[in-house]
């Protein structure tokens, strides 16, 4: 039996996504073997992050500043809001380097079966932001799941009171994809969302 300190480390590691009890033990052992090179710097980094990380009160992003570096960047286009489910989706879009507007993180999707309703998501805050005169377009970048699409529908309805264009990401042929290999649903979506060449 390990000492309580080590057991607690293992139990906490096992709560990380992708780690189970077995891999948590392996990670804990690895950390303890590399105490100076890894464990101490990691502990310091965790402490510093816990101290500094904030949720952006404007868009919901995670950053060390509030408002976050995206919201405060003067070069970004203030007229476009991109709505995403989670911070991970925001980061994915940022990696593309192709979107220069601002974001809004909903914090999840509507799910009656999991008891998540509109009040559990930051939809009211989105409507308030979209009302501002400088905002002209809201892009819905939600997942193509049942919950994601239902939420997109819901948000669109709530935004009708604002003077904005609502658009959503195109569904269809992936970059480098061959038509022959696509399922009918994707092809139908691609046909519907076709555009002039």
């Amino acid at each position: 039996m390990n000492s309580p300190e080590i057991e607690r480390l293992i139990q906490l590691l096992a709560k990380l996504p992708g780690l189970g009890p077995r891999s948590a033990r392996r990670v804990a052992l690895h950390l303890m073997k590399k105490r100076d090179g890894l464990l101490t710097p990691l502990a310091e980094a965790l402490g510093a992050a816990a101290e500094a990380v904030r949720t952006c009160s404007v868009c919901g992003n995670l950053d060390t500043r509030d408002p976050c570096h995206v919201c405060t960047d003067p070069r970004r286009d203030q007229s476009t809001l991109c709505v995403v489910e989670e911070v991970g989706d925001l980061w994915a879009l940022e990696r593309t380097n192709s979107f220069k507007g601002l974001y809004h993180v909903l914090g999840g999707t509507l799910s009656a079966l999991e008891g998540i309703g509109p009040d559990d998501l930051s939809i009211a805050a989105l409507v308030n932001r979209a009302r501002r005169p400088e905002v002209s377009e809201v892009i819905l970048a939600l997942n193509a799941t049942v919950e994601g699409q239902t939420t997109a529908h819901y948000v669109t309805d709530r935004l009708t009171e604002c003077d904005v264009t609502v658009s959503r990401l195109a569904h269809g042929v992936p970059v480098g994809g061959e038509l022959d290999y696509l399922d009918e649903g994707t092809l139908t979506a691609a046909l519907r969302a076709r555009r002039p060449f």
Partner: protein, 387 residues
């Protein structure tokens, strides 16, 4: 082992070549080595023959041939934390694939989560199974398929569609999820129109795709039935439902819009009754006996069974022509209710198709004509012995 005198079939048809069970029903563990030929399982009642068929049925999406809860499938006395598992090596027209599936016991004693691994890699959801394996079954419970409620016939039809259109399983799951979400909102008395409308839009879009896939299969399957010769009765098949009927008259987008409107109008009624009063989850498969010109449910038990067999065989021929292989066929106690001419015709057709049909029976003599042409096992008291 394939005896040298029995010409082995080319291994490009869909076939399970190795099946391993652990903590599954009566089996603590069992392993079967097979080739592409049909499989004959004989033994006394309660020996565990149907359990083997059920294990194979879990290689496709869904709840298996008994529609059991996953925790019910676990062997009584299985060690805690060790869920049941079925692993199979499968040859398909597109190559070999290793499939593993079982109950996620790590998520709890009562967890109903099914784990699926394909070629050793975990995949999310069961729908991916449909891309590799198609399974169609006939069980003694289905002898009443035509006289009982529509849900059994609908499931039977959808399982046939999976074989041609693996995405059908995913669309059905999407449709049912949106349906459940809407039912929950209505039951809780929600009057959130935007949320409901979002779910109804999703139900309409996926629902029309589900109905269109069913209609398309019925049309091609009828053509395959029409070409059949032999002692099995010819069936006249049709699918009936608001969407399926609508698709014959209007473009798909109009049908989609129609369903969306009707769902919106029915919110109060659906909230009181639960579920939804319209949609492809209420459609039915209609079958008539062509020779006798009567609905299937009015035919004798034997004729009803023969009609089902004739549909399953036509489906297998169609799949062979279009997808390169018939599905795996699980024929539980199939010889019961079939006269000798039909029994022999069934065996001949299965061999001609090259289908891996898993057949059970109490008496080995029933399958005498398949000696040498099938892999035979004796199942007794949860032990499987190759004979």
């Amino acid at each position: 082992m394939v005896p040298e005198d029995a010409a082995p079939r080319p291994l490009d048809r869909l076939a399970v070549t190795r099946l391993t069970l652990s903590q599954f029903r009566c089996y603590e563990s069992a392993r079967l080595h097979l080739d592409a030929r049909p499989v004959v399982l004989t033994g006394p009642n309660g020996a565990g023959k149907t359990n083997l068929l059920e294990a194979v049925s879990f290689l496709a999406p869904g709840r298996g041939l008994r529609r059991a809860r996953l925790s019910e499938v676990e062997r009584l006395g299985a060690p805690a934390g060790q869920g049941w598992a079925v692993a199979a090596q499968v040859t398909t027209p597109f190559g070999e694939v290793d499939i593993g599936t079982g109950r996620d016991a790590a998520a709890g004693e009562r967890s109903e989560r099914r784990l699926v691994r394909i070629d050793g890699r975990p995949v999310r959801g069961q729908v991916a199974l449909a891309e590799h394996v198609a399974v169609v079954w006939l069980t003694p419970q289905m002898d009443r398929l035509f006289s009982e409620g529509a849900s059994g016939r609908r499931r039977f039809l959808d399982r046939l569609v999976f074989g041609f259109d693996p995405a059908h399983a995913g669309r059905l799951a999407r449709y049912e999820l949106a349906l459940r979400e809407r039912a929950r909102l209505l039951r809780e008395g929600s009057r959130d129109d935007a949320w409901l409308a979002g779910l109804e839009a999703e139900m309409a879009a996926t629902g029309v795709a589900v109905a269109a896939a069913r209609r398309e299969l019925i049309e091609r399957l009828q053509a395959a039935i029409d070409q059949a010769v032999g002692p099995f009765p010819q069936a006249e098949i049709a699918v009936s439902g608001t969407l399926e009927d609508g698709l014959g008259e209007e473009p798909a987008l109009a049908v989609e819009e129609g369903l969306r409107r009707r769902l919106a109008e029915r919110r109060r009624q659906d909230g009181e009754a639960g579920g939804a009063g319209v949609g492809p989850h209420r459609s039915d498969l209609l079958v008539r006996h062509r020779g006798k010109a009567m609905p299937a449910e009015l035919c004798s038990t034997g004729e009803q069974k023969a009609l089902l067999v004739s549909i399953v065989l036509a489906n297998a021929r169609l799949m062979t022509a279009e997808r390169g292989s018939p599905p795996l066929l699980l024929l539980d106690e199939v010889a019961a209710h079939l006269d000798e001419a039909r029994r022999l015709a069934l065996f001949a057709e299965l061999l001609d198709l090259g289908a891996q049909a898993w057949m059970t029976g109490t008496d080995r003599a029933t399958f005498a004509e398949l000696d040498g042409a099938a892999t035979a096992f004796r199942v007794e008291d949860a032990h499987v012995v190759h004979t």
